[in-house]
């Protein structure tokens, strides 16, 4: 063989052998990539999830890691920007991660999902809510466990119909872009469920009170007021004004109100406020996770549903990697999809997760949604209304 042909053949063999080397050689660590918002609007819940993930990984590695090697988490700041997210997914792909977690906003989660699907990297999210993330067509490489908007609304509808026996609803929302998108969906779903929306009131972002809106809600004869949106200070101002003018109509919100800070802002006006949640704090499994988070990271981790969700999603991913027995992305994806009867601390007691080829969600019915209320200035246990 001529020297040039020999070199060409050697080079070709080397290129062909690269993928095998990547997954066949002894790995020093199992890598998981995470894209998150480090400083912008989604950073509040991104960073809570990051803290939970870091603690989970520290505990896992102290016990020997996964597949006999440490678990390594590579974080990338997506700047809450879908375009940036795509480049960060590319970067994580080049760093040979076996799985990617989306813990930023749903918008960046969608961008990451499209790119990861193209690159055939399994990914998923503990907390992204957007319905289209798992709606048809099925996303082969995407898995998630959070509440889904449509079941959240259905559960609230069940509560309004069965527990409150009401049919006339006022919707109060903030005029931020996210607030409008979220509340539009609520209005559509509640109307489809047969409720009459008697008024829709909108709070200008940054307003110092909401008297005009509160008076119109009172005059509308609404039996229940649904507070739906994205800006907690604006909606908290409405709730305070609603109480101040003596409106007795019950107030119900979205899972947004699980975000820390709401109770402090709303004060005593928040008493009795009902909202849907992914977790029931009375479950022993939830309490065990929360106790670990609070012990290690402080009181700020109490009542943070997204922290519990991040913890549980990590547990799920590690279970899939262990069952796959490899860092190979395709095999991990298959193992995720084959997850069956995995006990999980989300939803009501006894909830177990099973995925399938056409189902990559934990929440598949309104009956899995927990409804809670504010009691004595704190988030209370799940309500029994079904």
């Amino acid at each position: 063989m001529k020297r040039r042909n020999f070199l060409r053949a050697t080079a070709s063999l080397a290129v062909l052998a690269l993928p095998a080397l990547a997954h066949g050689q002894a790995v020093k660590s199992v890598k998981i990539g995470v894209h998150l918002d480090q400083a912008k609007q989604a950073s509040y819940y991104s960073l809570i999830q990051k803290d939970a993930i870091d603690l989970f990984v520290a505990e896992l590695n102290a016990k020997g890691g996964v597949l006999g090697v440490p678990l390594e988490v590579l974080y990338e700041d997506d700047e809450n920007n879908p375009v940036t997210t795509v480049t960060k997914v590319d970067k994580l792909a080049s760093e040979d991660v076996s799985f990617i977690l989306s813990i930023g906003s749903s918008a960046t989660g969608l961008a990451a999902q499209t790119r990861a699907n193209d690159l055939k990297i399994p990914l998923g999210s503990p907390a992204n809510l957007a319905e289209q993330l798992t709606s048809s067509p099925p996303k082969k490489y995407y898995f998630r466990i959070p509440l889904r908007g449509k079941y959240e609304v259905q559960a609230v509808g069940q509560y309004i119909g069965k527990a409150l026996k009401a049919s006339k609803i006022a919707v109060v929302r903030d005029a931020t872009q996210s607030g409008l998108v979220i509340s539009d969906q609520w209005i559509k779903d509640l109307t489809a469920a047969g409720f009459k929306i008697v008024t829709v009131e909108q709070i200008t972002p940054g307003s110092t009170e909401a008297m005009g809106q509160a008076l119109r809600v009172k005059a509308s004869g609404a039996e229940v007021v649904v507070v739906s949106g994205a800006s907690i200070p604006d909606l908290a101002n409405y709730i305070k004004t609603h109480r101040a003018i003596g409106n007795k109509a019950p107030l119900i919100g979205s899972s947004l109100f699980t975000a820390g800070g709401f109770l402090k802002l709303v004060g005593t006006a928040g008493e009795g406020f009902v909202y849907p949640d992914a977790i029931d704090p009375s479950r022993v499994e939830v309490k065990a996770i929360e106790d670990r988070l609070v012990t290690n990271l402080g009181e700020r981790m109490r009542n943070q549903a997204v922290a519990v969700q991040a913890w549980e999603f990590m547990r799920l991913v590690i279970d899939a990697i262990t069952r796959a027995g490899t860092t190979d992305r395709e095999k991990i994806r298959d193992a995720m999809e084959a997850t069956a009867n995995f006990p999980i601390a989300l939803g009501p007691p006894g909830t177990a997760l099973s995925y399938g080829p056409d189902d990559h969600d934990l929440f598949t019915s309104a009956d899995q949604v927990v409804l809670r209320s504010v009691v004595d200035g704190a988030y209370g246990p799940g309500l029994n209304f079904r």
């Binding site: 009131e201 709070i203 200008t204 307003s207 119109r216 800070g261």
Partner: protein, 291 residues
């Protein structure tokens, strides 16, 4: 109808005073230096954030209030010293100065988010959180009375300063003709420092009026900052009455729209009305030739 009109006035003047004070901060700097300081909303926000932090550390309320306002003013002066002064010394064109202030705004905003956290938190007002219910559907918060009083005092003080003191008159002269001003002995650097300091003082004080009615958070200086900017142009820049008229008009129109129109259209309607005002009188409500 009369009852709701009274509430429109109470609420509209309340938020209008906030917008007017923010506009006054822009006005003082713009009149003295010709610079539109984008970072005003951030000095307001930082004042509130520092207040929450100091109170959490057990600092007595009024000491925390003064220290927080002083901290925000010092940061504003540091930004002037580190960014604006070198740029102006090198003869940087105005767009570059504006761009640097825009950068300062972003660094202050997101830097505060990193250091302080992203949670919205309450801040008690100087008069507490009490509300007085008047009649069936009217109310006034104790904080609202503080807002009215501080706004009146601030505008009165700035008007006296700008018209009755040599330094205040220097600020006005410096913006009209900087070269002539320096020839008659006006120290332009001093003028710039005083205007940036006074602007920041107004914004930082405004933080203690606004945040008790809303929430302290790293993003929460942006909306009052933008509304103050609009109020400045609506009111006009001829005199200190311009920011006051613009702020109150914006606040009243915004609240009236939320009372008397479906609230879905309220914000848009307020801006349409304000655009009509500007089209009819481009120099603003109080604008004369000088504006």
């Amino acid at each position: 109808m009369l009852s709701s009109l009274a509430q429109v006035l109470l609420s509209g003047l309340q938020i209008g005073c906030i917008y007017a004070l923010m506009a006054l901060g822009y006005f003082v700097i713009l009149r003295a230096t010709g610079i539109l300081n984008f970072a005003q909303g951030e000095w307001m926000m930082i004042s509130g954030v520092l207040g929450v932090v100091l109170i959490a550390f057990g600092v007595p309320y009024y000491l925390a209030l003064l220290a927080a306002i002083a901290g925000a003013v010092l940061l504003a002066l540091a930004a002037e010293r580190a960014i604006i002064r070198p740029l102006q010394a090198r003869g940087a064109p105005q767009p570059i100065v504006l761009l640097s202030l825009f950068g300062t705004m972003l660094v202050a905003r997101y830097g505060t988010g990193v250091l302080f956290g992203r949670q919205d938190l309450p801040l008690d007002g100087p008069a507490g959180s009490g509300i007085t219910i008047i009649g069936e559907a009217n109310f006034i918060a104790n904080q609202t009375l503080v807002v009215y009083a501080i706004t009146a005092a601030a505008f009165f003080g700035v008007a006296i300063f700008m018209t009755r003191t040599w330094l205040g008159r220097s600020l006005r002269v410096a913006s009209i003709d900087p070269l002539a001003a320096s020839l008659i002995g006006v120290d332009l650097t001093r003028v710039r420092v005083v205007s940036f300091g006074l602007g920041a003082l107004i914004a930082a004080t405004c933080g203690w009026l606004y945040f008790p009615l809303y929430a302290v958070g790293y993003l929460n200086g942006s909306i009052p900052g933008i509304k103050g900017f609009i109020a400045l142009f609506v009111g006009g820049m001829a005199t200190t009455m311009g920011p006051l008229a613009g702020g109150l008009a914006l606040g009243l129109v915004e609240v009236a729209a939320s009372f008397y129109l479906p609230s879905i259209y309220a914000e848009g309607a307020a801006f349409v009305l304000l655009m009509i005002i500007l089209v009819a009188k481009p120099s603003g409500l109080t604008g004369g030739k000088e504006s």
